[in-house]
Amino acid sequence: MDWIDTLLIPAIKAIVVTLGLLVGFAYMTLAERKICARFQLRYGPNQAGPFGIFQPIADALKAIFKEEVIPKHVDKWLYVLSPVLAMAPAILAFAVIPVGRPIVIAGRTITLQLADINVGLLYPMAVAGLGAYGIVLGGWSSNNNYSLLGALRTTAQIISYELPMALSLVSLVVVTGTLRMSGIVEYQAALPLIVLQPIGFLIYFICGLAETNRSPFDFPETENELISGYNTEYGGIKFALFFMAEYINMIVVSALVATLFLGGWQGPILPGWLWFFIKTAVILFVFIWVRASLPRARYDKLMHFCWKFLTPLAALNLLVTAVVVLILR
């Protein structure tokens, strides 16, 4: 362990992860617009470059060069801070996800994972939980009825989905016996965990939809009733940061689903990182597919569903898993 191992390699990895997520975000917006369009028998953006591949660049330039507007009635300090609060945890959460088989460069084994911490599973949950502060504070500091309602719904939502989500992951930990991400991926060398934990997978996926504020659970921003909810008062690059947070969260949740339930980078023939990419992309497609198919639920229905159905189901799942694991051991 010298300075290359402790400093240089993590630094390079951190830069690659951040840049990768930002590029991923940019093209995620394009992919969402194009795929959503195809679901509605349209083409989507196709004018900027071939197949519209320069559309995200045009959007980014537009967002950056927009006039900086800070309304008079807002709590300025929190108003400016909250997009960052929403954005930073989204990127941070990706740090523990292994994207491929460890590679060897010049005699050094490099894991394709920013940090293989021993509470790897806990970390993205904790960090993603912080992301909700960005939305809540953004809605509150805007000093606007609609924003505040959006923020309130976020809080209602977060206390509903966090519990079944955590419970579904606990049953996963019971099966694998480790919280370490690399350990969980190695466990799935033979069999992806979705086979052993189909209910856990479903619960986690539904909660993932709620966590990323995606349709049908996009209550914080419900365009029709709340005029974009928490981000009503935001414009330009500050709005883009909220937008980024949502999409990067989506990528992170998809990557987590791919890692925890679909076997991560494990897979035959193709290189590990490609498997990881394909699995994440499939989950992202399902995210967009759900958005194109389902209408928005009501937020009391989500709370009802989470508290009265998902939480008991997740607890039951955990119980059964624990008993089975105990018997088989």
């Binding site: 349209r42 083409y43 389902l294």
Partner: protein, 156 residues
């Protein structure tokens, strides 16, 4: 919320998502307009076209029936006598001034029905955006031009 209801709902969601997935693999309906032509039915009512006789004289006799029936009062006709020196139409009178105001016209086609000589036809030209309102009041010089709409006219 019984288990049966939830399972039923889950099944319904899967069914709904199957429907949307079917459309994902369907060709989009969008017409890439300037690159592709719009498909119009033959009875589509676009900009008016004043017709001429085969010998080149105008069919319009300036009777003003079109202006009379127009529910939007979009048509203004002023008739004048043909002379031997200046002959515009085959009959005694012709339309000295024939203006249609396209800020008012509703493309109902009553004028076409009212026209006794078949001089007025609603063509297929649909690209009627102009830079000013004045340009939308079109006179004879425009209306006599047969339009070339950027469209494919379908069979009836």
């Amino acid at each position: 919320m019984s288990i049966v209801n939830v399972l039923k709902g889950f099944y319904e969601i899967l069914k709904a998502m199957a429907v949307t997935l079917k459309y994902f693999f369907t060709k989009p309906l969008t017409v890439q307009y300037p690159k592709e032509k719009i498909r119009l039915y033959p009875r589509f009512r676009g900009r008016h076209e004043l017709q001429r006789r085969p010998d080149g004289l105008e069919l319009c006799v300036g009777c003003g029936l079109c202006a009379a029936i127009c529910p939007a009062r979009a048509i203004y006709v002023e008739a004048a006598e043909n002379t031997d020196d200046a002959r515009y139409s085959g009959t005694e009178r012709y339309a000295r001034l024939y203006e249609i105001n396209y800020t008012r016209c509703i493309f109902c086609g009553f004028c076409e029905e009212a026209c006794p000589t078949g001089a007025l036809k609603l063509g297929h030209e649909f690209a009627l955006a102009r830079a000013s309102r004045g340009e939308l009041v079109m006179g004879k010089e425009t209306l006599l031009q047969p339009a070339t709409p950027h469209a494919i006219i379908l069979e009836d």
